[in-house]
Symmetry: C2
C-alpha cells in the first residue's frame, strides 16, 4: 500500500536537492528553512483546507457523536520493507486504532522527529507514501510538526500520528465487554508484518517474498459493524506483541478466559516456515492489517461472512471463543490435542517492529 | 511549573527500580513489560476514566462547537532546565497551540519515544511533572503510546503531545486576519525559555538564574477573549524562531506589514545581558509562555488591561502595529531611531530548544 497516489506519483522532491541534499538542524529551527520544508513538502503532499491555514493547529467541524482519539509513534527499522514503509504504516496504525473504537476516522496529525543528515529524497519518499496512504484511507493529515535532532540522536525518522474519529452511534466496543460464548474471529493470516520486517533485517530470502499486511482497516470494520451490529463486543488489532498479547489484554479486562484453536489460526506457509527458521511463535509476531473481532455467537456467522466479503478479509477465520474457565487467561488447544497456556510476551521478541 | 501536584508529590517510582533501573527494549515490546510500565506508571500518574479503559484509544463526549487539534513533538536538550522539563513543556506547548486557535483544551495524548537505558527514576520524574502540568492546566492525558528505541538511536526521551479543544463560538482567529491599524501586544518579557535552556547547555551562571517562561496560556487567552471579544484577530505563541518568525508568518499570511517598536519590547535585564554575551538577538529566541495578541485598535486597551490583570501577563506591553506598508514584511523602529527589516530566522540559532 505504499504506492503513491496519482497526484504525487513521479513528482520530484519539491525541495531542491542539489542545494539541500540532507535534512539539517536548521530545518527544525522554526525559521525560513522550516517554513520551506513545511510549505513546499508537507503542505504540498498533504494538501487540504485545514492544513492550508498554516496556523498552530487545525480547526474542524465534526459530525455529531462521541469522539475517539488515539496516538501512536512509529520507530520501525528498517524504514522501508516489503508492503510498506514508516509513512504508510504511520497512517494505517492510527486509522486502525480508531477503527478498534468503532470510530470513523476524520483526521490525523503528523509529528516528525527527523535526524540531521536524513536524505531529503528519502524524506520525500516517506511523505509521499504517507500522503498516498492517507488519500486511500480518505483521512486528511490536518496539522503537523517537525523537529530535527542532531546526528546520532535519532534514526533517520520517527513519526507520531494522532487521529480523531467519530464513534458510531450506539456502539460500546471495549475489551471489558467480552462475554462467555462470544466467538473470536480474525480477518486473515497472522504474523506477516513482523516476519516481513525481520526478513529485511536478517537478510533472509524466501521463494515468495513475505509482505507486510499493513493496511487501513476502517472499511472492513465498518462492514462487520453493519453486518453484526451491537453483537460486536470487542475489536482489537494485534500489533506489537501479536495475537497473544491482544488476547491476554482482553482476557484480563473482561475477567473471562479465551480459548484458541491452534489448527484454526490462519498462517501462510512461508510465514510458518520463517517462524520455524527464526525460532519465533507466530502468536507473538506483530500484525498491521489484522483485526480480532469478538462477537456474540448469534451474529458470528454474519460477522465472518462480512469479513470474507471484503478484500482485506478473504482469509478470515473463526479462531476461538470466550469461556468461563481460567478467568483472565488465554489457552490454546494445540495441533496435537493438548491444552497450553498462551502467556503474554514477556521479553522483547522483535524490537522496533512498528 | 514542574512541581508535582499534591497527589504525586513524593510518590516513589511505581516500577521497582532495583529490578528495572533502566528502560529496556522489552518495555516497548508490547508484552508484559510494556503493560507494567503503562499500568503502574502512566495510568497511575495520568489517572482518568478514559485512560482507565486500556483501549486502543480514548472515547470522549465533547461540548458542542468546532474542534481544534494540534500536535507537537518535544526533543528539548537538556531534559531538565530552570523552570521546567520536557514533561511540563510537552503539556504547555500543546495546550498553548490550542489556545492560539481560541480553543479551550479538552484532552491531550502522550506519545513517548524512550531510549534504551534511560534511568527509570528519570522517566518517573518527567511523567510526574507532566501529570502535574496537566492537572494544573485541567487537561487530562487520555491516551498514550510508548516506544523504546535501541541505545544510540534517541536521546533519553522524546515526547509527542497532541491536543484537542473546542473553539469558542463566534471566533475566527487566524494569521490571515491581521488588519492595518491592529495593535500587537505581548504578555511579558521575551526570550526567557531559550536563554534558560542555553544557560544550562553552556554552563553559564548569572547573578539571578534565568528561568524558562514555560506555562499554560489558555486561562490568560480566555481572559483576553472575554475582554476584547471578536476584535482579537490573531493569537500566536512565539516559540521556535522567536517573535521575529511568528511576526513574519503573520505578515506573510495577512499580506500586510508589521512595525515593531524596539524600545517597547519587554526584555528582562539578565536576559538582555545573556543575549549580548552569547551574540543572540532576543527577537529570535524561543518563548514557551508568551502570546502575541493582534487586536483591533478600539479594543487594544481592554485587551492589554486583561493581560495585565492575569498572573501570566503582568509584564504585558504594546509592541507594534499592523501597517499597510511593506506587505508581508516585518520592520522595527530601533532604539536609536532608524528602521530595520526583521527577517525570519534563516539558519538554526538554537537547536532542540523545545
Amino acid at each position: 500500500m505504499s504506492d503513491v497516489g496519482p497526484a504525487l506519483a513521479g513528482m520530484m522532491c519539491p525541495i531542491p536537492i542539489e542545494e539541500y541534499p540532507h535534512v539539517t538542524l536548521a530545518h527544525g529551527g522554526g525559521g525560513r528553512m522550516t517554513q520551506m520544508l513545511v510549505e513546499r513538502m508537507f503542505a504540498a503532499a498533504f494538501a487540504n483546507a485545514a492544513l492550508g491555514e498554516m496556523h498552530d493547529g487545525a480547526v474542524l467541524t465534526l459530525p455529531p457523536g462521541r469522539v475517539a482519539i488515539s496516538t501512536d509513534s512509529f520507530v520501525v527499522s528498517p524504514r522501508f520493507f516489503p508492503g510498506g514503509d514508516i509513512g504508510s504504516l504511520a497512517v494505517h496504525g492510527t486509522v486502525n486504532d480508531l477503527a478498534m473504537c468503532a470510530a470513523r476516522p476524520i483526521a490525523i496529525t503528523a509529528g516528525f522527529v527527523l535526524e540531521e543528515g536524513l536524505a531529503m529524497e528519502e524524506l520525500w519518499r516517506i511523505v509521499r507514501s504517507m500522503a498516498a496512504a492517507a488519500a486511500e484511507a480518505q483521512v486528511p493529515v490536518v496539522t503537523g510538526d517537525t523537529k530535527v535532532v542532531d546526528r546520532g540522536k535519532g534514526d533517520g525518522i520517527y513519526i507520531n500520528t494522532t487521529g480523531i474519529g467519530v464513534v458510531r452511534d450506539g456502539f460500546d466496543i471495549a475489551p471489558r465487554r467480552a462475554r462467555p460464548g462470544d466467538i473470536v474471529l480474525v480477518n486473515g493470516p497472522i504474523a506477516e508484518h513482523g516476519i516481513a520486517i525481520l526478513s529485511v533485517r536478517e537478510g533472509l530470502e524466501f521463494e515468495s517474498p513475505i509482505v507486510s499486511d499493513s493496511a487501513a482497516l476502517h472499511g472492513l470494520v465498518g462492514a462487520v459493524l453493519d453486518a453484526a451490529g451491537e453483537a460486536v463486543h470487542v475489536l482489537r488489532d494485534p500489533t506489537r506483541g501479536g495475537v497473544s498479547s491482544a488476547m491476554n489484554e482482553i482476557a484480563q479486562a473482561s475477567r473471562f478466559g479465551i480459548r484458541l484453536e491452534e489448527t484454526a489460526i490462519p498462517i501462510a506457509e512461508p510465514v510458518r516456515g520463517a517462524c520455524e527458521i527464526l525460532g519465533l511463535d507466530p502468536l507473538y509476531v506483530a500484525n498491521e492489517g489484522k483485526v480480532l473481532v469478538i462477537v456474540a455467537p448469534g451474529r458470528a456467522g454474519a460477522a465472518l461472512a462480512a469479513l470474507r466479503a471484503h478484500p482485506l478479509g478473504q482469509g478470515a477465520a473463526r479462531i476461538g471463543e470466550v469461556v468461563d474457565d481460567h478467568p483472565g487467561r488465554v489457552f490454546m488447544k494445540s495441533r496435537i490435542g493438548g491444552m497450553r497456556v498462551v502467556d503474554m510476551l514477556s521479553g522483547e521478541q522483535l524490537p522496533r517492529i512498528c
